[in-house]
Each structure stands twice: as C-alpha cells, then as structure tokens.
Symmetry: C2
C-alpha cells in the first residue's frame, strides 16, 4: 500500500521505518514543511519521494499526520478535503479533543482516526527516527464509533504492525489522562531544569549529575515547537494537573520541614507507583478500561 | 587488603562486588543490622563472612559505611573509636555536613574520609547490588584537608578502582549542590507519583504510562528508609530547592495559562540543560571546580 507521511520527524519517521520494514507500506511519500527535513528523510531512506501535500494525498491509501498539534489543526481539514473515500487518515498527535472537534462535521470525518501512539524520546527530526519505537507500547484511538469500520480496521492493523496494544476512549478522556501521564511529567521536567539552571551561579555542579537527575530532567530537552502547542491545546487539563502536582509538592515540602512522620507516609504512598505502573504488575487486569492486545511480536 | 562493609545494600554491596572483582579487596567482612540482609549478602558471594561491628572493625584495613544517613550519625563515632591508626574509614551517604560535624573533634578524625559516590538505582537491599554501578560517575570528597594524607590517598585509590572521577569541596557545598542535583529530583518524583495516584479514581490509566512518565517517576520507587533521613539531615537546602522548584512550576503554569510567548521562552531556557549535562558537552572544561579524572577504564 501507498503511505503518505506528513511530518518526517521522530514519530512520523519511526512509523515509516517500521511499516516499510514489515512490508506493510510498499511506497512511502513524504511531506514536510522544511525542505531540509524532507531531504534528510529521503537521504536516510525513510521515504521514497518528497512530495507536496496536494500531490501526495490523492495517491495514498493511508495518510499519517505527525506534525505539531497546532499544525494538525490547520492541516487535517485540508487533508480530508483531498482524500478519496478509500483513504484512511490518522493523526498521531498528543492532544485529541480540539483536533477531532475541528473536523467533527467534515464530510470525510469517517475516514479519520484520531490516535495517540504513546512513545517517544526527547529528540526530534528525521535523524531521531528509530525502528521499534512503538513495540509493546499503547496506542489510544478516540471516539472509534465516529470512524468508518474499514478505516478503523486499517488503522488498527497499522498499529498492530508497529507492535502496539490499543486503548479506546473519548477524546476528552484521552486529553485528561494524557495531561497527567505525559504532559505533566514534561512540564515538571522543564520547570526542574529551570530551577537547577537558576542556581548555576552558586554551588551547583552539573558534572555531578547522577543517573537520577539525568533521567528526571531528560524530558526538559524536548522540543518547545512540539510541546508548546500541546500545552496550549490541552491547557485546561495541563493546568489542572500542575495544580494537583504543586499541591502535593507543597505538602511534601511542609512534611520535610515539620512533620517527619507525614513525610514517611507520603513517600510510602508514592512507592505504590511501583505496583501500579504497567510492566510492574497486573495493572491490565485491575484496570476496567478496554485495552486490546492486538499483537506483540 | 581486608575490607569491612557496614550496610550490605545497593551501595555497600555494589562497592564490595567491584573491589573484589578488581582484586583490591582480598577479604570482605560484612556487617548489617538485618540478619536476613547479612545472610543474603553472604549467599550472593558479596561478602566472605558476617561479623559484628565490634569484631570486624579492628581487623579491617578499610571500613566503608553505607547505611541510611541517620544511622551513620550514630555509627561513625563508634567505628572511629574502634579503628587502629592504619585503618581508613569512608562513609558514602548522600549528606555530609551533619555527619562530618559530628566527628569534627574525634581523635581519629584524620582516619575519616567523608565521601558521596553519586550513583544508584531506585532499588535497595543486597540483591540490588550491581557490578560497575560507579563506573564513569563522580565521587565527592569533602574537606580533604581534614583527612590524613595516607587515608585520603587510600580512599582515592579505592574510588579509582571503582572507575570514578573525584570532585573536592566542603561538606556544606556538597549538601547544597546535592540538594538540587539529587535530593530535589527525588522529592519531585515522590510528589509526582502522589499527584498521579491522587487522580487514580478518575480517568488516569496507568497502562498508558509511556517512557517519559516511567523515567520521570522512577525515583518515586526509592526507599523511604533511605530518603527520609536524607531529607531530614539536609532539610535546609532541600526546602530551599523545593521553594525554587515550586516558584518555577508556578511561573510555567502561569505562562501556559496566559502567556504562550513566555511559555516558549521558559522551555527554550530549560533546553539549555542539554548542553550543560555532563556527557552532553564540555562541561568539565567550562566548570571551574576541581574534578580530578583519576581513572576511567
């Protein structure tokens, strides 16, 4: 099948690599606002041809949109305007509510699958694309009843080829969950980096940075061009998550200052994360949500 | 040489493993408050014999104290009371000011090397001990002028065998730097875990936890028995670091809510961490502190 990838960065590039390797995509057309990125993707063998949006879309069996979420808002309508009835359109951004609402009444709405494959690194651009990035991870599909069955099945098959499990929920649920699970940790890392950089003139020695610091602050290296629009589009839930986090930080700070017993209790409560995190226990069983294990290599 | 290790957990066990493997320690005596831990360390081949503090210390050429920092406060004096002039005593806890002040006037103060090898994992106990845990990491030695030259040289040699670089500073500088570089990220992770657990009854789906969340919250699995005393002993600087962090979180939250331009600027500033983190650039060169690269395999 012919795949068009719009946005040849970490996510779009990684999807293209895996779908080619698995023989799922036989020809990959690449579209990118940056001619340098497009040429780099071509040089890296991620895509077969650089095309414009207008030339690529009518030829494609599947279109994957992997650009910053503010750009998706503008591009998705244009893509749906151009596709044939047979073409499946998937956007893989981190926010889903504003984007899916924007095409709510589009005549081609049933061609569209709002998705969020939950994987990534702090790096960006075509050279950051990795094989196997999505293997064993969860992909969210939103409001699946609004997508035509053949398009839904084709998208599910694609995520299956990437080695992903699929969770189904509303766009609103996805934005709320993702605010806490993904957007908040990123915001926390940006602020942590700024806090430590703030002290640079004093006694802080970055050479000391041990594994703990490095892994905690890793997300602070993430691209502002990608994350700014996510924070803006999911503002309500991100601000809610930050308020909850700040409340817990203040409580922990206060307990360190004046209530060691409470401090111990708060750490013990936090330790529960060990049993709850996927991979550490049977959280799939305990969780009532529908997660379909489609395929794991 | 004969090594006595007091505290057979992640740090003490990992030091013992490497020093035996390198042939630096020919006999390793283990002391632990928990008989189960001591027997586990013996079974795992980490130590040669389980001993009491009183029986082990007089025989040892080097004593490594690797127990929670509140326990160090009580044990170090006892150890120094028992050692011969030839025995070097090293404590490897995460805080140094309160501990070194406690033995400031001890007649064997010159046998003592206050150290902080900056490495670890979120796991604990003898079974968590790892070979190569310290390789390429930084060890801090505090107030080196207060240690006798032969004891300092012996300790430096030991950290060299572990593959570590050494940074020299005062105990106060170490506690301040470590508050930001290590204690703050741990406090932030505990609070982040609690914030997300707080939302468990709502829409949060832990199965979604992607790499970003997992790595950010990893430190929240750390042992309260180890971290409680660290937060208490370094209360002043930990609370300062939390205040700075909360200030930056609030500023970031506010920028998301009402000032996207400022939000982008804050993320761009946080991105500077990429160039500053050890391993990413020439931070050793830019930094004016004395870090001695003793040895890297």
């Amino acid at each position: 099948m012919k795949l068009a990838v719009i946005g040849l960065g970490l996510i779009g590039g990684s999807i293209a690599k895996d779908l080619r390797k698995a023989g799922f995509a036989h020809e990959i057309l690449g579209v990118d606002a940056s001619p340098e990125n497009a040429q780099a993707a071509l040089r890296l063998g991620i895509i077969d041809r650089v095309e414009t949006l207008e030339s690529a879309i009518p030829k494609a069996d599947m279109v994957v949109i992997a650009i910053p979420v503010d750009k998706v808002l503008h591009s998705l309508t244009r893509v749906l305007d151009l596709v044939s009835d047979q073409t499946t359109v998937i956007d893989v951004g981190s926010t889903k509510k504003a984007i899916s609402e924007a095409v709510e009444n589009h005549p081609k709405r049933r061609n569209y699958v709002p998705a969020h494959p939950m994987s990534g690194t702090e790096n960006s651009g075509p050279s950051a694309a990795l094989e196997g990035l999505f293997e064993g991870k969860i992909n969210i599909i939103c409001d699946q009843e609004k997508t035509g069955p053949q398009h839904l099945a084709f998208a599910e098959k694609m995520f299956q080829v990437l080695g992903m499990d699929i969770a189904y929920m509303t766009a609103d649920e996805q934005d709320h969950s993702t605010a806490f699970i993904s957007h908040l940790p990123h915001a926390a890392a940006f602020a942590l980096a700024n806090a430590v950089l703030d002290k640079e003139d004093r006694e802080i020695i970055f050479d000391l940075a041990s594994g703990g610091f490095t892994s905690t602050v890793r997300l602070a290296k993430s691209s502002p061009e990608m994350w700014g629009p996510i924070f803006q589009q999911n503002k309500e839930y991100v601000v809610e998550s930050l308020d909850v986090y700040i409340k817990h930080l203040k409580a922990f700070r206060k307990s360190i200052e004046s209530d060691p017993e409470q401090m111990m209790a708060l750490m013990k409560n936090a330790n529960r994360i060990r049993g709850i995190l996927a991979g550490d226990g049977d959280s799939l069983v305990k969780n009532e949500r529908t997660i379909v294990k489609l395929y794991t290599k």
